[in-house]
Amino acid sequence: MTTKSTPKDPKNKSQACRVIVVTSGKGGVGKTTSTANIGAGLARMGYKVALVDTDIGLRNLDILMGLENRIVYNVIDVVEDRCKLNQALVKDKRLPNLSLLPAAQTRDKSALDPAQMKDVIEQLKKECDFVLVDSPAGIEQGFQIAVAAATEAIVVATPEMSSVRDADRIIGLLETKDHIEHYKLVLNRVRPDMMRTNDMMDVDDVIEILSIKLLGLIPEDKDIIVSTNRGEPVVLWEGQKVPKATQAYRNIAGRIAGEDIPFMDFDVPETWMDKVKNLLRINAGVA
């Protein structure tokens, strides 16, 4: 595995900065993984990107980015005037145009209020093309802090009942926020094999139930775990044989930047055994 990335020349910051919150309601569906990869994907395209971790007390974005050893100050230090914003920002070791504003690990969510978060993000907006805000799980204070400054939202869900239910709740809350102009769905941990055998809701089912626009599909991929372990977002992996998730996250970053990229087709070709099974509908091993 090679992780050498080749960023294009950083574009001059021209248009207004976009603030996008990544949220889901349910925990463990891939909010932080998606924030890290979409952010790194946009930075890889040459945009100036800042990632903001709002999960005060349970920070993890630093781990996924492999930047946990570089943190000196955090967002609470900025708010409480112990440092300047630029001192708290951790520059990515791979991409010079990507930085992380870490959450505090030793405090809790009451240490910050939505207005303070908004002030910090307003400062960040002056220097960035994109600010991606990683929201904590839940619909309480942490969520309110995360969405405060955002004008767009990415709802992350998996094709499971509990995740879709919570996503529906989050969509309801986003609808009440006038400053959120639009929100789209990233469907994570897609299992084409289980969808083909009708053991799982498929992409169309989830989109129909939530009546939401789709931003992208991420296949279930064991390389995501490898990338977390190495602190190298999968979107930055380079080489001949990168995982499907790498391309999937690159596509999402491209779509956010305004490119028209068709959705990936994860369907693996049917083997002859699949064909026999489909003909006879034999439930091998279950019946």
Partner: protein, 139 residues
Amino acid sequence: MTMKPDIKPPPFKPTTTGTAGKSAAAQEGHPLYHWWVDLWNKLWPPEHPASAASPFKPVNPAKVTAKDDAKHRLRLVLMHDRSQLSSGQIESMRDELVEVISKYVEIDRKSLDLYLEQEADTIALVANISVVRRKDARA
């Protein structure tokens, strides 16, 4: 050759329950499937051990899938979530409705059916009430 028991278990039959919303063709299953069921019953009569637990025993393709289960359950849950009505609240609404309607018409209290239904964009509150007779019909 073993003696056949007097009481035979019924031959394997496809079950087609819970197929609401599926096309007739889907409910009947693939023609090959029926051929397979017939052949299976011929090859292994129901008392044959192979019939009990075999990976090749025909499984009806028209049976309700886990995906359908998930969609159905999720729709119901979301309907209640979105309406922000608990089943307890619906019950008390039901009781109060019975009170009000009973002032005007005689109704069968048990037959009052109150439920939520998902329409295109909105949630409908559906009440199905069978009227026994008008209160003043005899006056």
